[in-house]
């Protein structure tokens, strides 16, 4: 019962914290570029403005897809804080991402949307094998796929899975659509495919997707938090350092092509996770 209450509180708090994180993200990005930057609450202003706009849709599929994407992200956060099964969470996450692509693919007359959807599929093809290897490695160390067992593990997982954490960093950058992996859609001034997968979403439906993205940020950070679950302070330090490095990488790198992403992220990710898994296997 306590689990359900904690999970419900997490689902309510996640968009607020996620919005604040993305506000801080934009502020730090601006400071790194010698700009003053928008207020911390700017993402909330953006989303409330979008919620108040006239709904314009191409077809009813898009509306359904936006809602399912939001629901899947919420369910991911809910299941994670219920300390449920990592594999189940992985499938729910995938369903959300597939529906986002389906919504973009449902507009046959929009080439930008089509290209964005195909690039999003390429991104999924890259981060999902990495993510599943991360889960397998966690399961090899802790003995099960349950989040509760990972939390109960006496030592920080980072001491046994340092290379896997780097792989998770790759998956995180792709999932959060940060440079150099912001190939399907991106924020701010990069707009060569006019926000790709989000091209045909507008007004309140774009707001739903933005809120779903905040849920995903929280979910991915919670996943990183598993690697130092033994004390809260250590977890916070790890998360702050990880997210700050993400912002730095986002700012110092240009966008790359999907071929580069597929080759680079998969080869590095597969080799690193292979070494780490063999190491855990022989040591344990």
């Amino acid at each position: 019962m306590a689990d359900i209450i904690i999970a419900l509180i997490a689902v309510i708090l996640a968009p607020i914290v996620g919005g604040l994180i993305s506000g801080v993200d934009r502020k730090i990005t601006a400071r790194l570029q010698s700009r003053f930057g928008p207020p911390i609450l700017q993402p909330f202003y953006d989303v409330f403005k979008l919620l108040g706009k006239t709904p314009m849709v191409i077809n009813s599929w898009q509306v359904l897809c936006a809602y399912v994407y939001l629901a899947a992200s919420m369910l991911c956060v809910f299941l994670f804080f219920m300390q449920s099964d990592l594999l189940l969470i992985f499938f729910v996450l995938t369903i959300g991402a597939v529906f986002l692509v389906m919504g973009a693919l449902s507009t046959p007359n929009s080439p930008y949307s089509q290209i964005g959807a195909q690039r999003e599929l390429m991104q999924m093809l890259t981060y999902e094998p990495l993510l599943i290897l991360v889960f397998v490695a966690i399961a090899m160390v802790t003995g099960s796929f349950k989040v509760s067992d990972a939390l109960a593990y006496p030592k920080p997982l980072l001491t046994q899975l340092p290379l896997i954490f780097i792989v998770l960093g790759y998956a995180l950058t792709i999932k959060l659509r940060k440079s150099p992996f912001d190939i399907s859609a991106s924020h701010h001034a990069h707009q060569e495919i006019v926000r790709g997968v989000l091209t045909e979403y507008s007004g309140p439906f774009l707001a739903l997707i933005e809120i779903a993205h905040w849920y995903e940020v929280i979910f991915v950070l919670a996943l990183c938090g598993l690697f130092w679950a033994t004390n809260l302070f250590g977890m916070l330090v790890l998360l702050v350092i990880t997210y700050f490095l993400e912002i730095i990488v986002d700012n110092v790198s240009a966008r790359m092509t999907w071929r580069w992403m597929l080759k680079g992220a998969l080869s590095v990710g597969l080799v690193l996770s292979f070494i780490n898994i063999v190491w855990v296997y022989t040591a344990g």
């Binding site: 700009r35 928008p38 700017q42 909330f44 707009q191 007004g203 774009l206």
Partner: protein
Amino acid sequence: MSILNNWINKGRLKSPWVVHFDCGSCNGCDIEVLACLTPMYDIERFGIINVGNPKHADVLLVTGTVNHRNKHVLKNIYDQMPDPKAVIAIGACGLSGGVFRDAYNVVGGVDKVIPVTAYVPGCPPKPEAIIDGVVTALEEVKKVLGLTA
């Protein structure tokens, strides 16, 4: 409900995303618009983002002379933007046709095709003048929303 409306109205004033359409301008006004996005002026601190997609935008910035060929494109872009929206005509050409106003292919100002909220004169206008134009347009939006005292 009124709290939600307050937040939505606040968002409308604090996050005007702009899309920028060039009706065949000489590029003078365009580089001044883009200069606003640089660290020197940094309009993102007011929540302004330059988007590439009219479906995401709240403000349409139009530069250059509207002619019979591109007036349909301009109207199409305007129609694709969800309400509430504003239009800012930038530069002498956008206001009236500028030095080209007597040419046979020129329609005249942007307001001959779509309703304009604010005009920014100049050839080209300074970035400060363009920012001032956005502020003026937001004042008009405030009047429409009934937020002025």
